[in-house]
């Protein structure tokens, strides 16, 4: 059973007097444990698609199922709960909370979203900290670590609540090539270690070919699917 399944997905919005079709009749299915990238130029609909899969936005029409749940009609409160339970996010600008240490940033979803017991929480945070190679950096604040390290922390935060799906919007845009490749490698390793599905959007040529499934978008339409596991 596909983890993410989209059928004739549309997203349009009004921009002044013009109707913009950001996503225009997209259909695909993504199996659990995949490493998928949405590629395409700016304005092709990658981020809109990721937002809909991440329950941050609702489709105008079509159906979208994530982890067996039709997410196209969730209320904002239901969406927040669903995201907290099933989806992790990695952002282009890392988006770590500056007043929290690395450890606390990773702990945040377990504490503020899922309410894990303290001991279980500690063990889980230490596990993912070690998994992303940041075990000795837990006490530092985000402003005390490098961009690559920040993105590692962001990966750890996305994984810590054992999300089935991690969505990353341009996760390497602010990183140099070597660091960008390390982050992609880390995502692959996490996929292998935890069985998590990673979907990232990019138009960064240095990492475009690193995903196992590449879904190419142009003007809101899915124009090609390469690799195994993705069906347009």
């Amino acid at each position: 059973m596909a983890l993410v399944e989209a059928r004739d997905l549309h997203k349009s919005y009004q921009d002044g007097t013009t109707v913009v079709h950001a996503v225009d009749g997209v259909s695909f299915a993504i199996e659990p444990g995949s490493l998928v990238s949405f590629v395409g130029p700016s304005g092709s609909g990658k981020s809109t698609l990721l937002n809909m899969i991440g329950c941050l936005d609702r489709p105008s029409s079509g159906s979208l199922t994530v982890a067996g749940q039709d997410v196209s009609r969730l209320t904002p409160r239901e969406s927040a709960r669903f995201r907290g339970q099933h989806i992790g996010f990695i952002f282009q600008d890392f988006n770590l909370i500056p007043i929290l240490t690395v450890y606390e940033n990773i702990e945040y979803p377990l504490l503020m979203v899922q309410n894990w017991a303290p001991e279980r929480r500690r063990r889980q945070v230490e596990t993912v900290l070690a998994a992303v190679g940041m075990a000795d950096q837990g006490h530092k604040y985000p402003q005390q670590i490098s961009g690559g390290q920040k993105q590692r922390v962001a990966v750890a935060r996305a994984l810590v609540s054992q999300a089935q799906l991690v969505l990353a919007d341009e996760p390497t845009a602010n990183l140099d090539k070597a660091t960008a490749l390390q982050i992609i490698a880390l995502m692959k390793r996490m996929r292998d270690d935890f069985g998590t599905t990673f979907i990232f959007s990019t138009h960064d040529p240095k990492i475009v070919g690193t995903a196992e499934i590449i879904l190419t978008l142009e003007d809101g339409r899915l124009v090609s699917a390469e690799g195994h596991g993705g069906t347009p």
Partner: protein, 414 residues
């Protein structure tokens, strides 16, 4: 909840200067209200103490209609001796009554042989009077004998003594007309000078009640008023009501009430000043509320605006609107608590200083009164709770805005 408070505290620490400024504003507001309340409260209590303990007593009982005609001090409105006995019986039975004094009030001509003027007089039993209004002794100056007053002596109001150029030891003549129209005069020696006090009766003289009866040729125990001192002024309302109820059972020939009973609040215009002070305190509290509300709201609107991207992030990773709201409300709550706590600390320091170097002031004829600011624990708690509640209220709109923010818009915000 602990984690939410920790995050809120760290956010306040992140914007240290702004937090300090806002907490200082709240602190100033709390300090102003506490100082105003304590100083005016002290003034109020001191003046109430002066008026009740040096002149009026806490409660007064008269024959029905006496108070309406008090300007003329009507002798035909006196309580008859049988009525006085009934009042005594009621007062003796009350646990709340600490002491009472019967007074014979009347007007007379005061003559120094060279000059003559009018004087309002209280005929009193000196011992009972001192038990009922213990601060009366402090108003007497120039007296070198023990006790308040002896037979044959008069305590003369200061303004009258100054105007008539008389002093302690001088002999004067009092001439009075009784209710039958008979005029009588007697010599008195000035035994002391009475400092004036604001309000009715504040410029009255005093003679012994037996001298008053002799001057007025009254052969019974009739009196004009009974002044009552309570063991605790906090019992005023209940005791006044209880005494009024008991005295109401004593009726006249036509089944009309014989007595009227008044608390000090109904007897002195100072009570209007007390009420005015209370109204001013209320408005000062409203100003405090406004200061706190505007300061907190302003700082919390700024906090939300500056952290839009952060709000988007925590919303995206699944933080529910309730928790986002709680985060911002907690910041307002902590700001209120910090401001109130600072205000209380500075207030206590200010009170300590004011108690070492007290403020001296004059009120009417009373000179050199000392203010000793004091405030009840309950009042401090109530003001602090108001501040904290308003701080949370001031954070409500910004917190709601944060909680209902669209995550995508928030994440796009630079």
């Amino acid at each position: 909840m602990k984690k939410i408070l920790t995050i809120a505290f760290r956010n306040l620490r992140r914007y240290r200067r702004r937090t300090l400024l806002t907490a200082s504003l709240v602190m100033l507001g709390v300090l102003s209200v506490l100082l105003f309340t304590s100083v005016t409260g002290s003034f109020k209590q001191m003046m109430i103490g002066q008026i009740t303990d040096a002149m009026l007593g806490h409660i007064q009982i008269h024959q029905k209609g006496f108070l309406a005609a008090i300007d003329t001090l009507p002798l035909n409105r006196n309580l008859k001796d049988t009525q006085v006995d009934k009042v005594r019986a009621v007062l003796d039975n009350s646990d709340a009554v600490a002491a009472y004094s019967t007074r014979l009030k009347f007007g007379a001509m005061f003559s120094t042989f060279a000059e003559t003027t009018n004087i309002r007089l209280n005929g009193v039993d000196p011992d009972r009077e001192l038990q009922t209004v213990p601060l009366l002794g402090d108003r007497i100056s120039g007296r070198d004998k023990p006790g308040l007053l002896a037979k044959g002596e008069i305590l003369v109001p200061k303004l009258l003594a100054t105007g008539m150029k008389v002093g302690v030891g001088d002999t004067v003549v009092l001439v009075a007309t009784n209710k039958d129209g008979s005029v009588n005069g007697q010599n008195f020696v000035i035994g002391g000078i009475v400092e004036a006090l604001s309000g009715p009766g504040g410029r009255d003289g005093y003679i012994h009640i037996e001298d008053a009866r002799s001057l007025l040729r009254i052969e019974t125990d009739e009196v004009s008023e009974v002044a009552v001192r309570l063991s605790d002024i906090g019992l005023l309302k209940n005791t006044t009501a209880t005494l009024a109820k008991e005295l109401a059972t004593l009726r006249g020939k036509e089944d009309k009430p014989l007595f009227e009973i008044h608390s000090w609040q109904e007897l002195t215009p100072f009570f209007n000043i007390v009420k005015m002070i209370d109204v001013m305190t209320f408005f000062i509290k409203i100003m405090l509320v406004a200061i706190v509300l505007v300061s907190i709201m302003n700082v919390m609107v700024m906090a939300v605006y500056e952290r839009i991207n952060e709000i988007g992030t925590i919303a995206a990773i699944g933080t529910g609107p309730g928790k986002i709201m709680a985060l911002f409300l907690s910041e307002g709550l902590l700001l209120g608590i910090i401001g109130a706590a600072l205000g209380i600390v500075v207030f206590l320091a200010a009170v300590a200083v004011l108690n070492v170097v007290p403020i001296s002031f004059d009120f009417g004829q009373q000179k050199g009164l000392l203010l000793e600011p004091a405030i009840s624990f309950a009042e401090i708690v109530s003001i602090s709770l108001i501040v904290v509640a308003i701080s949370v209220l001031g954070s409500l709109q910004p917190a709601w805005k944060a909680a209902t923010m669209d995550p995508i818009t928030a994440l796009r915000h630079v």
